[in-house]
């Protein structure tokens, strides 16, 4: 699942996981930048705001390599479904937005397993910003792209940075054939589209009534 902050992809992922589990598919969720291995370094770097676009990129790749080994490949071998809240495309989009060489990042991640399905929740900046503001999310230094010095105002910087990330995602849709879900619609609508996409890969039959029941 891919998309910028405030695209709603985590909500969509949770609903999908529920559906898959109910249908008897064992599911494992893995989140971007969650391995214990790089936690200390990321924390140090973030606290001191000392991460550069390159070290930011490499730390995330290290995190990904660690999760690939421990959290992604074993469940795949065991025949489970791995739901990844962000995948390598996040790195392709964010690192390029920070000025890292596009080709280099792609080659860096060439050890990654190609997902069976990559879904991109596309949302305009205004919508994602409104959602984050409504939840009173405090924009963090790197998430808002404040390290780039484009603006000292967090919200303004977030808009500029996420705008660049969106442009990168648009490139990726074509380059890697990401399936796009319009993330402006209602949660239920999006989930319906999402489940349809997933069904094509899993042959799960389900009527809209059943879905409405679960979402109620």
């Amino acid at each position: 699942m891919e998309g910028i902050d405030g695209s709603g992809k985590t909500t969509q992922l949770a609903l999908l996981a529920k559906w898959l589990s109910a249908a008897g598919h064992p599911v494992l969720v893995t989140e971007w930048n969650s391995s214990a291995l790089v936690k200390a370094a990321t924390k140090t770097g973030k606290k001191k705001n000392s991460l550069t676009p390159m070290t930011f990129s490499l730390l995330h790749a290290t995190d990904f390599a660690d999760r690939l080994l421990y959290n992604i490949v074993p469940p795949l071998k065991a025949g489970m479904i791995v739901l990844a809240d962000r995948y390598a495309y996040t790195a392709f989009a964010r690192d390029a937005a920070r000025g890292v060489d596009r080709r280099w990042v792609r080659e860096l991640y060439s050890f990654a397993v190609k997902p069976d399905l990559a879904v991109y929740f596309r949302v305009p900046i205004e919508v994602s910003t409104d959602r984050l503001m409504a939840r009173r999310v405090k924009l963090k230094f790197y998430e808002a792209g404040l390290d780039m010095g484009w603006s000292s105002n967090a919200v303004e910087s977030f808009r500029i940075f996420q705008g660049k990330v969106l442009d990168e995602y648009d490139r990726l849709v074509e380059e890697f054939g990401l399936s796009v879900v319009n993330a402006v619609g209602s949660i239920t609508e999006q989930q319906r589209t999402f489940r349809k996409l997933v069904s094509q890969h899993l042959q799960i039959e389900e009527t809209d009534e059943q879905l409405d029941e679960q979402l109620a």
Binding site: L51, M54, L58, A88, E107
Partner: protein, 253 residues
């Protein structure tokens, strides 16, 4: 399982010293920086740090600004690398990537600023150490070279070469075998000495195979410290004299 992207081999035959090996760091153009990078490579026990200490003294006496940089010494990564090594949860990819992060941090924070300011950077080990260790562990060579495409080609690389037997004796004499330097993660066998020997042998082979590709100046590390130092000074002195002459010609027209 398919990999995400297929990497195309990049054949870079003539890399100018002081420029990036690959596409580099787009937001940090380094062309025309006056500083120099001199890397001293070699396995454990070849006396790199002694040679660097002596070189620094000699260069500073002549009026050159010198900074030193060394493997895994970055502020960002040192604690993480030590912790990860101690807990044995690393695999070959995370091992390689932690080292690359350390290098990137030192490159941007220490090396590039020093080059810009005209310092001579004495590097205790350089990316070739990472490549040798990864090579022994079977990490894809093309991938490794792409990964370090953001590294700067040093102006001089000295490889302090040693034979297997001398190497083993020196390491045992100095600090003994440790888990990683014995390649125990590679599970070559239960006998730590045999594993250590096999590992060091493959490491030497990796360094040798890189000598031509990266233009190593090979020095026999079994000779006396002073003899090696004299040789280093002679070659570095000649290089600095030559680059000063060409810099002068460029400025005067």
């Amino acid at each position: 399982m398919n990999s995400l992207t297929s990497s195309s081999p990049d054949v870079e035959s003539t890399i100018r010293p002081g420029s990036y090996y690959g596409n580099g760091i787009p937001y940090l153009p380094i062309d025309g920086y006056p500083g120099k990078i001199i890397a001293i490579e070699g396995t454990d026990g070849v006396g790199r740090s002694t040679q660097i200490r002596l070189l620094r003294e000699w260069l500073e006496v002549q009026g050159y600004g010198v900074i030193e940089t060394g493997w895994t010494r970055s502020e960002l990564m040192q604690p993480t690398i030590e912790l990860a090594k101690a807990s044995n949860t690393l695999n070959k990819l995370t091992f390689v990537l932690l080292y690359a992060t350390d290098f990137a941090d030192r490159l941007e924070k220490e090396i590039i600023p020093a080059l810009k300011a005209g310092f001579i950077v004495l590097s205790d080990r350089y990316i070739y150490t990472a490549m040798a260790r990864a090579g022994v562990r079977g990490v894809d060579r093309t991938w490794m070279r792409n990964l370090y495409g953001f590294a700067i080609a040093p102006h001089l690389v000295f490889y302090l070469k040693i034979d297997e037997k001398t190497l083993i004796r020196r390491v045992l004499q100095s600090r003994g075998m440790d888990f990683w330097e014995s390649g125990m993660d590679m599970k070559l066998g239960d006998d730590i000495y045999e594993s250590f020997r096999a590992y060091q042998r493959s490491l030497l082979r990796e360094y040798t195979s890189m000598a031509d590709e990266f233009g190593f100046r090979v020095l026999d590390a079994r000779r006396k410290v002073e003899v090696i130092q004299d040789e280093l000074r002679r070659q570095i002195g000649a290089f600095l004299a030559e680059s000063e002459t060409s810099a002068a010609t460029t400025t005067t027209g």
